[in-house]
């Protein structure tokens, strides 16, 4: 149920996404490409000059100075272009990466509730954490090197061809061997890289879940077991990483064989060409030096192939999330305040027995209806349907008699799940409406009775790494966000439960104030919440079994009346 993974894009699709990003910046992209080509070409000047020097020595004439000046020029040019191209590649790559990571976070935050429930927590976290870091690392260090090395290899072959086509051909003898080596390596390594990613995701999850539940871990002296889980997952990720690298070194051995054959071919062919007088010793020297110069870039390509492939595995996972359908790009149009709400014939199941069966429920404009029932009666499911977080298998939700395309634009939901966002108090509340003024933020906080927040200071850093808030304080923040978001319809799903009973009443008052003037559905455990609502609906086994005002239901002597007696008779 909760172990599904998010989609992963194909390599082709990831390539297209990157290409599109590059096309969107034509000037930067072409300038970067041009500089990289020039930097690689500048690297060829030195060996060519050295070949000429050999010829001059062979002939025994000339002075050293022209060669010195040429080498000096080559060094300066090469240095400037290499540095420049590194900067340009990083600028382009990092900018594209920033866009991509923003898109990934955007889609991750817009995932439908149903998907959020199904997906493994660690998977989503490692997409926005580990995967982004891996790709960033490749963009910063591997990308400039790979681009430079790849161009050097290409241009060197061109240089060999300029000397003598037969020498170039001899050098190319190595190519099929490289290809064979790659074809041996890729199918073996790809699944292992994928497995490595999964292992890293599990490792992150183990760590995050232990850290966030540290109080509980301490309370049960359970540290050893949690450490063991982290150790275990870290160790299994380590095992996979080392296995992958072993494979990689075997691949390197195959690459070295190709290097030797290429070099031997150049020297051998050069030998016969010199013997037949077709080329000079200097030309063969230049060819051998050029080919030898390729070992570095080829080794680098080989070295970073690993990083690149591993980054590729992360990239397709990022693109997999980035490619999820864009949610609600259209501007949200709010209906008039306080619409009438009608849930008509709602039915739903999570693949097992039905959770809701043919539920009809109408809320008059501005009416406050409490939903009461035992655990598992379907209260939360019905609340999710109204909040637009769940598409029911049957039935529909009408606002003022009309079906609504984007229910979530009209309905605000505060559930028992609390999260205090890391950052300042003002920023936390302002998530609901970024353009709200300080005065509006303060007003929202005061509406829900969170005077402590202004006393503490709106700039106080709260949440992970900041000041810790109590559960009722955290829930008050959630209600203040609702006030600021100002939706015409509100759904409170046991919004006071997490606060604990001591703070529950204050929170009930806060909830009442936050939902004043909105058509409101309250899922209530505390019957006092029900008693203060305009109307009470009792849900049992997915069906509405009683409906009426608190007084009517108590009078009727049914299920609700029994609950109320049990409740009010205590003490």
């Amino acid at each position: 149920m909760t172990d599904q993974l998010l989609p992963v894009a194909t390599g082709r699709r990831a390539g297209r996404v990157v290409a599109d990003e590059l096309r969107a910046r034509p000037l930067a992209a072409s300038l970067t490409a041009l500089t990289a080509v020039c930097a690689a070409a500048a690297g060829l000047i030195a060996p060519t000059v050295l070949g000429r020097l050999v010829d001059a020595v062979d002939r025994g004439e000339g002075t050293i100075w022209p060669f010195v000046w040429a080498l000096l020029g080559a060094a300066l040019l090469s240095a400037v272009l290499t540095g420049l191209s590194a900067v340009l590649i990083a600028r382009l790559g990092e900018t594209v990466l920033a866009r991509l990571r923003e898109k990934v976070v955007d889609r991750a935050l817009h995932l439908p509730s149903a998907t959020l429930d199904r997906v493994r927590g660690g998977d989503l976290l490692s997409r926005v954490g580990d995967d982004v870091a891996k790709v960033a690392d490749a963009v910063t260090s591997a990308l400039p090197q790979v681009a430079g090395a790849g161009l050097t290899v290409l241009l060197t072959l061109v240089g060999l061809g300029a000397l003598d086509w037969r020498l170039a051909l001899a050098g190319m003898v190595a190519l099929p061997l490289y290809v064979t080596a790659l074809r041996w390596y890729l199918p073996r390594s790809a699944p292992r890289y994928a497995a490595e990613r999964v292992a890293m995701g599990e490792r992150s999850q183990a760590l995050v879940s232990s850290v966030q539940g540290a109080d509980t871990v301490h309370a049960y002296a359970d540290e050893a077991r949690h450490r063991a889980v982290v150790d275990d997952r870290s160790a299994s990720a380590l095992g996979i990483t080392l296995g992958v690298f072993r494979l990689f070194t075997d691949f390197g051995w195959r690459m070295n064989r190709a290097e030797y054959l290429g070099l031997a071919a150049v020297l051998g062919v050069g030998f016969f060409l010199v013997r037949s007088g077709d080329v000079t010793v200097g030309a063969v020297t230049t060819a051998a030096l050029l080919f030898h110069r390729l070992f570095g870039p080829l080794g680098l390509l080989l070295f970073t192939f690993d990083d690149v492939q591993s980054a590729g595995a992360s990239l397709v996972r990022m693109v997999g999330v980035a490619d999820l359908p864009d949610a609600a790009a259209a501007p949200r149009v709010r209906t008039a305040a306080r619409p009438a709400v009608e849930l008509r014939g709602i039915g739903h199941s999570y693949g097992g027995p039905p959770v809701l069966v043919d539920v009809d429920l109408a809320l008059a404009p501005g009416e406050r209806v409490a939903l009461v029932g035992a655990s598992g009666a379907g209260k939360t499911t019905l609340a999710s349907v109204l909040a637009g977080g769940l598409d029911p298998a049957a039935g529909q939700v009408l606002l003022d008699g009309e079906p609504v395309a984007d229910l979530r634009a009209q309905v605000g939901l505060v559930s028992q799940e609390v999260h205090v966002f890391a950052g300042s108090l003002a920023d936390d509340v302002r998530l609901a409406r970024p353009d709200a003024t300080d005065a509006e933020v303060v007003a929202a906080l005061e509406t829900v009775g969170a005077g402590w927040a202004t006393a503490m200071g709106l700039d106080t850093v709260v949440g992970d790494g900041g000041r810790e808030l109590t559960a009722p304080q955290a829930q008050q923040l959630a209600l203040a966000r609702l006030v600021l978001a100002d939706p015409p319809v509100a759904v409170l799903d046991e919004a006071t439960a997490e606060a604990g009973s001591a703070g529950a009443r204050d929170l009930e008052d806060a909830a009442l104030a936050a939902t004043a003037g909105r058509t409101t559905l309250v899922v209530a455990h505390r019957l006092t919440q029900a008693a203060r609502a305009d109307r009470v609906v009792v849900l049992a086994a997915g069906r509405v079994v009683e409906e009426g005002t608190h007084a009517e239901l108590v009078e009727a002597g049914g299920r609700y009346a029994r609950l109320w007696t049990a409740w009010s008779a205590r003490g």
């Binding site: 909760t2 060996p47 955007d106 959020l116 540290e223 870290s234 559960a471 001591a502």
Partner: protein, 548 residues
């Protein structure tokens, strides 16, 4: 346990010392590999001199054969040397990660622990970058070996050239090393910004459901975009530094090649060197770019490792929350907060009502050891808890927090983390906690108990606390997410199982308070009233707090 290294340098040195065998083999094999690489230009020079220039076929066969042998040694040395490097590097990374996890999960807690997202980044990225010092170290030695072999080869061809290289190469590397601290300074803020961006992404994704409830996804995305843009700007600034560094490295090796080739070329034009010797010298000078570049690369990685090691050390050396102390003496389980006038008799069931939730949080936080205990503040069986070991105190005083946290596993592991209770004990605890409907002990439980409803989570947490049978059990609002009928069942089951053992219920549920031996009302951190639930219910203030 050994004290953790207290400086980044010390941490890096320990990383190197921890893997002597791996580091040793890696260094030897990679040096051999680099030596063979240095000999490749020599082999090319010899082949040109003896075979290509003379046209002798046997000489060609002989030199290509020797070169083949050289390649075999070269590639095998790399193959096994690199395996040792990576094994050392990632084993060290794993060990660092385990240490970080151990530190974070230290029974004594951690003062000033970084936010979870940042911690995750430290335990993954920074640990890996710190461990990379092993690779950097072996590359430094291997690069030096290659420089030495090249210098010796040059010395046998021409003494002035050899001396020049021997002096010039270290000078060049030294100058490049001067840039390394500068590079660290320029890249450190970028690394911190990237870590902060990752932290924000994690935080927002964790709150995704809350954001959806109020339609704040767009606002959250906008906030992430801003932070991401800041990180991008700082990354772009450091890209300039990296570009400068790379350009300088290329310039250095280019000028070096110029010097060597210039002198050798002049000598050759003067007739003092043969063509083959010139090729060897030039080939070597050209090859020298590789070890020099390798040393530059290693310098860069050391700089990164140092920046990361500083963050790892920050976690490893963070002070424990309360200092360790001695274990409490065994006793019947009496609790007292003298300053607050709060006493719990051994074996009694005491209810605590706190009209201001902050009072309840304070009391529970103190009992749970979430903050340091001041001397004389809290007594356990008449012993001052301030001098006791917090982990040992927790073994006697169990606090189940209000927000129940369950971990990935099965219902069995959720109720019985230590895994040593029998099935019937488990089922008895579940029944007492009103969770008899959860009878399948092998039911999978998702991380944070997300596969269960709020009410189920709360009841499973209660069953977990009851099963533990601690001398003192503190429960904070254990029944807020269950319905009235179930709450009544829990009240009966709970009091039955805890009979004769000290139990503190911080709650305002009449169902629970009605069964307490005594109820204490806390106001402003001190006891305001005490009595049975029945007696107290006469007071309007109490009734207002409890009966609603």
């Amino acid at each position: 346990m050994d004290p953790h290294p207290s400086t980044p340098g010390a941490l890096l040195r320990r990383s190197l010392r921890r893997h002597p065998r791996r580091l040793g083999w890696a260094t030897v094999l990679l040096s051999l590999h680099q030596t063979c690489e240095a000999l490749v230009p020599v082999a090319i020079g010899v082949t040109i001199d003896r075979a290509v220039a003379t046209g002798s076929l046997p000489a060609l066969v002989a030199s290509l054969g020797a070169t083949a042998l050289l390649f075999v040694v070269l590639s095998q040395a790399y193959r096994y040397g690199a395996r040792h490097v990576v094994t050392g590097w990632f084993t060290e990374t794993h060990q660092l990660r385990v240490e970080i996890a151990a530190r974070v999960l230290d029974p004594h807690g951690l003062r000033g622990a970084p936010p979870t997202g940042e911690l995750l980044s430290i335990a993954t990225n920074d640990a890996e970058k710190t461990g990379r010092v092993i690779e950097a170290a072996s590359l430094v030695v291997a690069g030096t070996a290659a420089l030495t072999v090249a210098a010796v080869s040059l010395l046998t061809i021409s003494v002035p050239l050899g001396i020049g290289v021997l002096l010039g190469a270290p000078l060049l590397v030294g100058l490049l090393q001067l840039l390394s601290p500068w590079l660290t300074r320029r890249t450190a803020p970028q690394q911190a910004d990237v870590a902060r961006t990752a932290g924000l992404a994690t935080d927002l994704v964790r709150g995704a459901r809350v954001l959806r409830g109020i339609g704040a996804e767009d606002a959250a995305t906008a906030r992430y975009r801003r932070t991401s843009a800041t990180a991008l700007a700082s990354t772009l600034r450091s890209a300039g530094a990296i570009g400068t560094y790379q350009g300088t490295t290329v310039l250095g090796s280019g000028l070096f090649l110029l010097a060597v080739a210039g002198v050798a070329g002049a000598l050759a034009l003067d007739g003092q060197l043969s063509v083959g010797q010139l090729v060897t010298v030039v080939g070597l000078a050209q090859f020298l770019a590789e070890p020099v570049g390798l040393l530059g690369f290693a310098g860069q990685k050391v700089a990164e490792a140092r920046a990361s090691a500083a963050r790892v050390v920050g976690v490893l050396t963070a002070e424990p929350l309360p200092p360790a102390g001695r274990a409490p003496r065994p006793g019947p389980g009496a609790l007292a907060l003298p300053a607050a006038g709060f006493h719990v008799e051994p074996g009694s069931l005491v209810g605590v009502v706190a009209p201001d939730p902050a009072d309840a949080e304070d009391l529970v936080g103190l009992l749970a050891g979430r903050r340091p205990v001041r001397p004389g503040e809290l007594l356990l069986d008449d012993e001052d808890v301030a001098g006791l070991d917090p982990a040992a105190v927790r073994a006697r005083v169990l606090v189940e927090p209000h927000v129940v946290v369950l971990f990935e596993g099965t219902l069995r592991s959720a109720v019985d983390p230590s895994g040593d209770a029998a099935d019937d004990e488990l089922l008895a605890a579940l029944t007492a906690a009103g969770a008899a409907d959860l009878a399948d002990l092998e039911l999978p439980v998702a991380d944070r108990g997300r596969s269960l409803s709020g009410g189920q989570r709360q009841r499973v947490g209660l069953a977990r606390a009851l099963l533990r049978r601690p001398a003192v059990l503190v429960l904070h609002d254990p029944t807020t997410a269950v319905d009235a009928v179930t709450e009544e069942e829990i009240a009966a089951g709970l009091t039955g199982l805890r009979r004769g053992r000290t139990t503190v219920l911080v709650t305002s549920s009449p169902a629970l308070l009605g069964r307490c031996d005594r109820v204490v009302v806390l106001r402003g951190g001190v006891v305001d009233a005490t009595g049975t639930h029945g007696e107290l219910a006469e007071h309007p203030d109490y009734a207002a707090a409890v009966l609603r």
